[in-house]
């Protein structure tokens, strides 16, 4: 399937989550495997069909941006076979995520404050100042509780040895948590018998944890917190999630045009007049948040909201300016950031990363382009990316030119062969690559819901799991001790 790439004697065969090397199921999958076999292929086919109908009936969809402005609404792709994470694996993931999110928040507070980390020479200043998500406009503002990223969705992969590595920090408006919950709801409905033999930890209380965190940020106190989810509207790819979260938390789902700022206070326009807003969980990017401060052509945001935020009259979640911490050019420095602020070694490691600003790194990458992934630092969702192994010489040339034009804008990583798992594809059980996005909530405490969104690359051999690029998903089980 892949060219064998020698690499210091380490195995380059993708790790298989389900089977051990001799093709017997790993111990924690044995019961599930027995059950799948006794269920039989016909029954699985029926179940697979039922899960489609259920997703359709519940309207669980996502939108792929297409040629027309409406986009194409698709049913969320769901695979029947759950992915299992053992209790001890989870302990490591959870502590690693908490450590990382804590450090990244200290980093953001520092960047928009004293900038000690730059003065101490840990991070080159140009890396920060050239980042398009470093927002000078908000320097000196301290957000409620001093926290920037109240919701983080951190992508984790397993390398060929089965080690969990951090692939990406998503700290702006990470999405996918509603699908994590819907996957569980569907799995339980279609395959309740799967659960019988395991003790699976629950994930559906995520919205209540989120609500508690949002309430804790209210300038007028928890008791009077008026909270809104700010959505760009029904054509946004994650609109399903926006409605899901608003509904589960019982708060208003609003668009920018539903709000107005008067004397640095944000109000909702309601049938009973203006109503003060305390916390805005925004699902739009910084660029569009406030035409007075950021992009002046934005019609999605709320004029004056940044001034209201600066005045301490409203909390914005995640805080404006958070994007610089998940800039892919900052990513290689995160282990140093953890050491710098916490004095600890990172619990979860990064994927090795080459910086295109370094001549040595760049030459090495150019020489080995077909085994590299090259990523534009400010893109997400699998856009603006070169997958070396499946690229053409022409495309590689094109990317080299792009890199030379603006080295700050690119990083490269050796292709990591994401771990594989059994999936039910067209009446057969086949192996597909996958990753994991757990969600971290930072309010008065840091909490990680035991689970996450497992994304699957549905095309055989593909390493791209993004739903906008043909990815699917699985229910993710974290086992209790």
């Amino acid at each position: 399937m892949y060219k064998h790439i020698p690499s210091g004697g380490k195995s380059r065969t993708p790790y298989h989550e389900f089977y051990s090397d001799d093709f017997t199921p790993r111990p924690h999958y044995q019961l599930l495997w027995d059950h799948i076999r006794s269920t039989g292929n016909n029954a699985l086919e029926v179940k697979s069909h039922e899960s489609q109908l259920a997703l359709q009936a519940e309207g669980v969809t996502f939108t792929v941006y297409g040629d027309n402005e409406e986009g194409i609404e698709r049913i969320w792709p769901f695979d029947l076979i759950p992915r299992i994470i053992t209790a001890s694996e989870w302990v490591k993931i959870e502590s690693g995520l908490k450590q990382r999110v804590r450090a990244l928040n200290l980093f953001l507070a520092d960047l928009y404050g004293e900038q000690k980390i730059i003065k101490d020479g840990v991070i080159p200043p140009e890396l920060i100042y050239q980042g398009k998500d470093f927002r000078r406009e908000i320097i000196g503002i301290v957000p409620p509780l001093g926290i920037y990223t109240h919701i983080s969705g951190i992508d984790i992969i397993r390398d060929e040895q089965g080690e969990f590595l951090i692939l990406e920090d998503n700290l702006r408006t990470p999405s996918g948590v509603s699908y994590m919950i819907e996957n569980r709801v569907i799995e339980r409905r279609i395959m309740p018998e799967f659960f019988g033999k395991y003790r699976v930890r629950r994930v559906e209380h995520y919205p209540s944890l989120l609500l508690a965190a949002l309430r804790s940020l209210s300038p007028r106190g928890k008791e009077n917190a008026e909270i809104v989810v700010l959505t760009p509207g029904i054509y946004n790819s994650a609109y399903f999630e926006h409605t899901f979260l608003a509904k589960e938390m019982g708060v208003e789902l609003a668009e920018g045009r539903d709000m107005v700022t008067i004397n640095d206070i944000v109000y909702l326009k309601t049938t009973k007049g203006l109503q003060q807003v305390d916390v805005i969980y925004r699902r739009i990017d910084d660029d569009f948040l406030d035409p007075l401060v950021f992009r002046s052509d934005s019609a999605l945001g709320i004029t004056g909201v940044i001034n209201a935020w600066r005045a301490g009259n409203v909390a914005i979640v995640n805080a404006p300016g958070s994007g610089i911490a998940d800039d892919k050019a900052v990513y290689p420095f995160v282990p140093d950031i953890i050491r710098y602020y916490l004095g600890q070694q990172p619990i979860l490691n990064n994927v090795p990363t080459y910086q295109m600003t370094s001549v040595k790194d760049r030459e090495y990458v150019f020489d080995n382009m077909e085994r590299m992934v090259v990523k534009a630092v400010s893109e997400s969702g699998g856009y603006g990316m070169l997958m070396g192994p499946s690229s053409t010489p022409a495309l590689r040339k094109e990317f080299m030119d792009l890199v030379l034009e603006n080295p700050r804008n690119y990083i490269a990583q050796p292709v990591v062969y994401l771990s594989r798992h059994v999936c039910y594809m067209d009446s057969e059980l086949e192996a597909r690559h996958l990753d994991l996005r757990p969600f971290v909530i930072y309010g008065e405490d840091i909490e990680v819901v035991p689970g996450g969104l497992t994304r699957v690359a549905l095309r055989k051999g593909s390493l791209v799991v993004n739903s906008s690029q043909g990815g699917g998903s699985k229910d993710t089980w974290v086992l209790a001790e």
Partner: protein, 312 residues
């Protein structure tokens, strides 16, 4: 109208409501509690259902002390021979009463009655796996909802309809009180659990059994405070499954029917109305369990008064 017809309209609604609500309870219990993070015995999971449906003595008589298991409870609640309020029996009596009152209900309703009976009679009797059972219960709940919609849109709003309303609302108020009483008992004793994840799932299951989860989240933002849940379920007049809502609709139905010389009914329903004209604080001062017991007693008295004044 004939007393006998009034009686049938009343019971037709009661049995349908009971069947639908029992199916909903079963569905939630089968599905919502399958992830057993905490060790939850089958007994712990299912005994409340037997208590809510008042069928525990019948169950114990049948199975002795050999324990409460999921397949047994599913079978017993669906179509247990010795269970006089199993879902199948409710549906059979629903249809029998509809036959008696055939000329008072619309053609569309009558066809739906038959569809429901034919669609579920045999299937409820077969021994069902937990997953088959849960999809059957979902289907039944949908059929009940469809029937309610047909009734609302095709039935004349005369005296017959008023008795139908009385039956449906009385049953609903009765069921809601039992659900709250039993579930509250299970959830509450451990105050240290308030705010924990387990706590969340227990309250959510309670509210979902009453189709009130999302509505509750919209009305209360402080999480699941026991007093809020009780207030919502008992006193909220906008929540269609609250006790106060049912009582209000029964009062309206009685106005339609007229209460001249119906001393017992007037008195009983005045008491019932007075009971929901209160605050959560007062309910808790008295004790929720004591309050709900008293409420159930009053509901029973209302039923007895109706039977004495109208159905004999």
């Amino acid at each position: 109208m004939l007393s006998r017809i009034a009686d049938s309209m009343y019971w037709m609604a009661r049995y349908l409501e009971r069947a639908g609500e029992t199916a909903r309870l079963m569905e939630i219990n089968l599905l919502y509690l399958v992830e057993a993070e905490e060790d939850m015995s089958e007994e712990y999971r299912w005994r409340p259902i037997l208590q809510i449906t008042s069928t525990e003595p019948m169950y114990r008589e049948l199975f002795g002390d050999t324990g409460i298991t999921t397949p047994r409870v599913v079978q017993f609640i669906s179509a247990g021979r010795t269970n006089t309020s199993c879902i199948r029996t409710c549906l059979r009596l629903f249809r029998e009463n509809a036959r008696v009152a055939r000329d008072r209900i619309s053609k569309e309703m009558w066809e739906a009655v038959n569809e429901i009976w034919m669609g579920f009679n045999e299937r409820l009797k077969t021994s069902l796996s937990a997953e088959r059972a849960s999809s059957l219960f979902v289907e039944l709940r949908n059929q009940v909802a469809r029937f309610n919609g047909l009734t609302a849109s095709t039935m004349m709003r005369g005296e017959a309809y008023a008795f139908y309303e009385l039956g449906g609302c009385l049953e609903r108020a009765d069921m809601t009180s039992r659900i709250l009483d039993v579930k509250y008992h299970i959830i509450l004793p451990d105050l240290s659990m308030v705010g924990s994840a387990l706590d969340y799932y227990q309250w959510a299951a309670l509210l979902k059994s009453l189709s009130g989860f999302e509505a509750f989240r919209r009305s209360y933002h402080a999480g699941f405070m026991p007093a809020d849940v009780a207030e919502f379920v008992v006193l909220n007049r906008e929540f269609p499954r609250s006790i106060a809502f049912s009582v209000e609709r029964m009062t309206e139905a009685l106005e339609k029917i007229g209460l001249q010389d119906k001393e017992a009914t007037s008195v009983a329903f005045n008491w019932l109305s007075a009971m929901v004209d209160t605050t959560a604080r007062d309910i808790f001062a008295q004790g929720l369990h004591e309050y709900l017991e008293q409420l159930l007693d009053k509901i029973g008295q209302c039923h007895a008064a109706l039977a004495g004044d109208f159905f004999q």
